[in-house]
């Protein structure tokens, strides 16, 4: 939605109105725009939208901003929509209702129908590109002419041809002779490799052919280096690659002392910060860390990745048994009569997050009970 600029809605000399449709709501990507329902107008040069009640509220966008568009069928309780994919914001764009948008597309939602005719006219205008011969203002370069989408957005997966097209057009638009062509070629090739990898993954899943363990591992490392999520082979072979194995061993060495200092347990986010601060460069991704920690058990390292009911993930020393932790929690609470997570944290020198988890664990095992009031959550020894 940040491609729109405020407009008075008046047509320019060479501009002709093609079609207008009432009952249109705009969407910024998947989110409803901060605007009411209004009238959408298509001219030979621009897409204009005006608020029905407040005619002052009028915005417009040049048609040359459009890469491609597609229909989104109506559903239960949902109007039919046209999804319009857009080029990045040009530097000389006039101010509009949105400073910034995280979405490169908008949607027009047709609450009073009319989408079929609007789509047809939009297709015509985008094919003819009449704005190019009779320019209103600074024209924006569009590169090669985009394929006009005709498929209904049923499943949400864009075909590979369309993807390659989009990459090429966006690349050409942003090129500015800065040599991004090599990156574009690389990305187009990547597109093809992603398709190929899906085909391979399916075959591995269906056990077609005679694929060796080695080949599977090699394939998984390809996926890792490209950044492709790998749900298929992960089920059968685990997410571990050679890289994660090595990483797990390194972590095993590196975390021993810090864990001892912190009572045998550290939140995964703490580990992430610790490890990456130490590395300085060639940092680990959060996923790398999680995948490596998952391998502690199979490598028989003295550490474990543990997930609490709350979803909090920690790395824990094997040597610090559950019973010890619960017993010490009970001791401390009995000693003081009662404790909150903050008080317990201060006592042990632990983070509040982890002290709370220990108290919750002790409660789960029946050793503590809680007093949950507006003043906070306080734990008492369970005398029942």
């Amino acid at each position: 939605m940040d491609r729109f600029s405020w407009s008075n809605g008046l047509l320019e000399i060479n501009e002709t109105l093609v079609i207008q449709q009432r009952g249109v709501r705009l969407y910024d990507g998947d989110d409803k725009a901060k605007l009411d329902v209004g009238v959408a107008l298509l001219s030979t040069h621009r897409l204009i939208w005006r608020d029905v009640k407040n005619h002052e509220c009028c915005i417009a966008m040049p048609l040359s901003q459009i890469i491609f568009f597609e229909e989104q069928a109506a559903g239960i309780g949902k109007s039919a929509k046209i999804v319009i994919h857009l080029y990045p914001v040009p530097a000389n764009k006039e101010p509009g209702p949105y400073q910034h948008s995280k979405y490169p597309y908008i949607k027009l939602s047709f609450k009073e129908h009319g989408q079929i005719e609007f789509y047809r006219r939009l297709t015509e205008e985008m094919t003819q590109k009449r704005w190019e011969s009779t320019s209103l203002s600074q024209p924006i370069p569009t590169g090669t002419s985009p394929q006009v989408g005709r498929k209904t957005h049923a499943v949400g997966i864009i075909g590979i041809e369309r993807k390659i097209d989009e990459i090429n057009t966006v690349c050409l638009f942003t090129n500015h002779n800065r040599g991004h062509q090599t990156l574009c070629s690389a990305l187009v090739l990547l597109c093809k490799m992603v398709e190929l990898s899906r085909s391979i993954a399916n075959k591995i899943k269906d056990k077609q052919g005679d694929i060796t363990e080695d080949e599977t591992i090699r394939f998984k490392s390809y996926l890792l280096s490209m950044g492709i999520a790998d749900p298929v082979t992960r089920e059968t072979h685990g997410s571990g690659t050679h890289y994660h194995l090595q990483l797990a061993k390194q972590l095993g060495d590196m975390l021993q002392a810090p864990l001892e200092e912190r009572g045998g347990m550290m939140a995964l986010t703490e580990v992430y910060c610790l490890v990456n601060r130490a590395r300085g460069m060639e940092l680990l991704s959060p996923e790398d860390l999680v995948n490596a920690c998952k391998m502690f058990e199979s490598l028989k390292l003295p550490l474990r990745l543990r997930v609490f009911d709350s979803g909090v993930m920690v790395v824990q020393l094997q040597s610090h048994s559950e019973e010890e932790m619960i017993a010490s929690a009970l001791d401390n609470v009995s000693d003081k009569g009662s404790l909150t997570a903050e008080e317990f944290a201060k006592l042990l020198g632990l983070s509040v997050l982890l002290s709370k988890e220990r108290l919750l664990l002790a409660e789960k095992m029946g050793h503590l009970c809680r007093d949950d009031s507006v003043e906070g959550l306080r734990f008492y020894p369970n005398l029942f």
Binding site: D31, K34, P88, H100, K102, I158, I167, V170, G179, H180, T182, L183, S185, A186, L187, L189, L190, C191, M193, V194, L196, S199, I200, K203, Q208, G209, E215, R218, F219, Y222, L224, S225, M226, G227, I228, A229, Y243, A267, L268, T269, Y272, C273, N276, R277, E282, L283, L284, S285, P286, E287, D288, L289, V307, G311, V312, V352, L353, D372, V374, E375
Partner: protein, 258 residues
């Protein structure tokens, strides 16, 4: 004992299966993997060539980062999935975001005693920029959002709540359902909310409003000002603007709830 066939009979069988398979126009997975490794070599050299001249672009140009991420999303790859990926090793995309992740965690941790683990994206942005120092590369809100999305996988309750045109970033595993979110959104304009306001705007029963507000108090996300003129006000420190608030110590924070 039945071994995996390596004898002549097994080889012949395999060849027959391969032939039949190929007959149907299907390519063998093994052949595809070979094809893929060749494509990968080409890909790597393209990327290397780009990196040799334009590696700086990733660090220096927020707009380029956005376009790059969007193209990767279109293709279906996640350049931030692993530090071992091409993207990290050759373009240095990873280090930029992973380091940002560290800075985000640290800011959230430092402020948790004050705001209960909820902070506006704006404030987070300001503080991260401050922490990075004058000479560091610029970081956009889009960058923060992407880094936060990656942090989610570590299970510490990182999430984003849409509020008033921007977001609140949650960094603790406090359970916040639709009711809580809607009250947060209501409080966004003034930084506080009252039971009457909730009843008027959302048409809720008093019990429901109080239940939600109690939960926010317990989680440390809201502070109660029972001495406000008229009705008790529930303030959300996450929404305090920088100008009005000052840093509060944990002791003071504890004193503010009754």
């Amino acid at each position: 004992m039945h071994r995996r066939g390596v004898g002549a009979g097994a080889i012949a069988k395999k060849k027959l299966a391969e032939a039949k398979y190929k007959e149907r126009g299907n390519v063998l997975a093994e052949d595809q993997i070979v094809q893929m490794s060749k494509q990968l070599e080409t890909f790597k050299s393209n990327l290397e060539e780009f990196a040799s001249k334009h590696k700086q672009e990733i660090r220096k140009n927020p707009q380029f980062r956005v376009q790059f991420q969007e193209m990767c999303a279109t293709i279906g790859v996640d350049p931030l999935a692993s530090g071992k990926g091409f993207w990290s090793e050759m373009l240095g995309v990873g280090d930029f975001y992973y380091e940002l992740g560290v800075q985000i965690i640290e800011v959230c941790l430092a402020l948790k005693h004050r705001n209960g683990g909820l902070i506006t994206l704006d404030e987070l942005h300001q503080r991260v920029l401050k922490g990075r120092g004058k000479y560091a590369q610029d970081v956009s809100q889009d960058d923060l959002v992407r880094a936060i999305k990656k942090l989610k996988v570590m299970g510490n309750g990182f999430g984003m709540i849409p509020v008033g045109g921007s977001y609140l970033v949650q960094s603790v595993p406090a359970e916040l359902n639709m009711d809580h979110t809607v009250v947060l959104q209501l409080a966004e304009k003034k930084g506080y909310v009252t039971v009457s306001e909730i009843r008027d705007s959302l048409k809720w029963e008093k019990e429901r409003a109080c239940h939600v507000l109690d939960h926010l108090l317990k989680e440390g996300l809201a502070w109660l000002d029972s001495q406000a003129a008229g009705e008790a006000q529930y303030w959300l420190p996450a929404l305090f603007s920088e100008l009005i608030s000052r840093d509060v110590t944990p002791e003071e924070a504890n004193q503010m709830t009754p």
